[in-house]
Amino acid sequence: MKLCSAGASLGTIISFSGVFMSIIELKDINFSYGPSEERVIKSLSLSIERGECILLEGPNGSGKSTLFRILNGLSLPDSGTYYFDSRLIDKKYLKSERDAKVFHKEIGYLFQNPDIMLFCASVYDEIGFGPRQMGLDDVEVDKRVRDLLKTFDIEKLADKAPYHLSGGQKKKIAFAAVMALNPKAYILDEPFAGLDRESCEMIGRLIKNLKLMGKTIIIASHDESDIGELADRRLNIVELMQD
């Protein structure tokens, strides 16, 4: 197991005694896509503190997206343990509909391809989908949507169909839709891909502000220049695996 800071090591030690310092704690995770398939994740251990911003690096096919799927509970590891906010995320936990929904509300996932995140008739409905699911009243849903439209400077797009917009605009809408749930942790898969320089700077400022507010952020990006000083730690997924 490779832990990247003394704090992380302490977090791991304390976590085994029942008190959790970290928001995300992965211990000796192994994963393959089938019994006869090669392991994609091998003995991966990782500890992420609350409010940390992590830049996850690694070549194509190294398992970054698979790790993100595990972190979001979309795939379950073959072996190893995953704790999120001191809760063991396993098959039993995710089988409980209520627990799974609370977990998904607390961890927001921005997919690399925004196309697969947009299915509503208008941008307004797309951003409002999550808050409506949470059972917020119409006034609160409207406030959240309007605030996020303003934050991402896409107010003019509110009534447009998301599917016919440009790649950069779709990315912003998808990010806004994730933020509308107000999650504790953000998993951002290539958040700068397909964005122009101005939009990259805007998303960079946004991530910085999220970090200042104490949100935990994990970013996968190939372009380090976009992340700049945002990341507290840079982790290479290949180095995180023991085998």
Binding site: I116, F119, K143
Partner: protein
């Protein structure tokens, strides 16, 4: 820049929804896609060329169709079941499932005829058996052969290229659009954190996006073909 409501964590408790339709749909779609893409089966273990398998399957179906003796049908059935007995249980079940459904459907369609003409029950039951055996043959072939190998085998049998091309394209689009639907439902499930009162509306959105995407892919592929010299004629090479 950041809205005020984001500065504090929501004290959120999810209401009970009672519907896990999205998760179930994702699982069944993923299973179907995995079968089409990987075609998990016995091809690695069985060394018989796909061309030979295709010819044998066609011959078997022809024999089943023209056979007059129920004894010969039962003999073919026994051979097929013996062959299937060497497979793992899960594969046997998935192979026989379609055949049983097809046979039951045939039996259902034949029921009025059997009730109105009890003397012809034997022939009607023979038809049900023929359907069961034919679908089992096809399932065995499908289960033990990869799509690309089937296309190659069909080319060797001089089946018209336009037919093979259409089949290949259909399979390609089933996989592409199936993956898109699976991804859309997965991202939807991540944001379905409470009670969804508009389940069918959400599913309608997924269907609409898939239709638009299918249309776009179709247009893009046609333009790409034009760029590579396609003039509307499928030539034999």
């Amino acid at each position: 820049m950041i809205p005020d409501w984001m500065k504090e964590d929501d004290n959120y408790v999810s209401p009970k929804d009672g519907g896990t339709f999205v998760i179930k749909t994702i699982k069944s779609l993923a299973h179907l896609m995995a079968r089409i893409k990987v075609q998990k089966g016995h091809e690695k273990k069985r060394s018989m060329p796909v061309l030979l398998k295709l010819i044998l399957t066609l011959l078997a179906i022809l024999t089943i169709a023209i056979s007059k003796e129920s004894l010969s049908l039962m003999a073919i059935g026994a051979v097929l079941l013996l062959y299937l007995a060497t497979w793992p249980g899960e594969d046997i079940a998935s192979c026989l499932k379609g055949a049983v459904i097809a046979a039951l459907f045939t039996a259902l369609v034949m029921t009025p005829a059997m009730l109105m003409n009890p003397a012809g029950i034997r022939n009607n039951l023979s038809l049900v058996l023929r359907v069961f055996l034919s679908v089992t043959c096809l399932n065995i072939f499908n289960h033990t052969s990869q799509w690309n190998h089937i296309s190659l085998a069909m080319r060797k049998l001089h089946i018209p290229r336009i037919f093979i091309f259409t089949l290949d394209m259909t399979l390609k689009y089933i996989v592409l659009l199936g993956n898109l639907i699976e991804d859309l439902l997965t991202s939807m499930s991540l944001r379905m954190v409470g009670k969804n009162t508009k389940k069918y509306g959400s599913l309608g959105g997924v269907m609409g996006v898939t239709f638009v995407r299918g249309n776009e892919l179709n247009q893009m592929m046609y333009e790409a073909m034009q760029c590579r010299g396609f003039t509307g004629d499928y030539n034999q090479f």
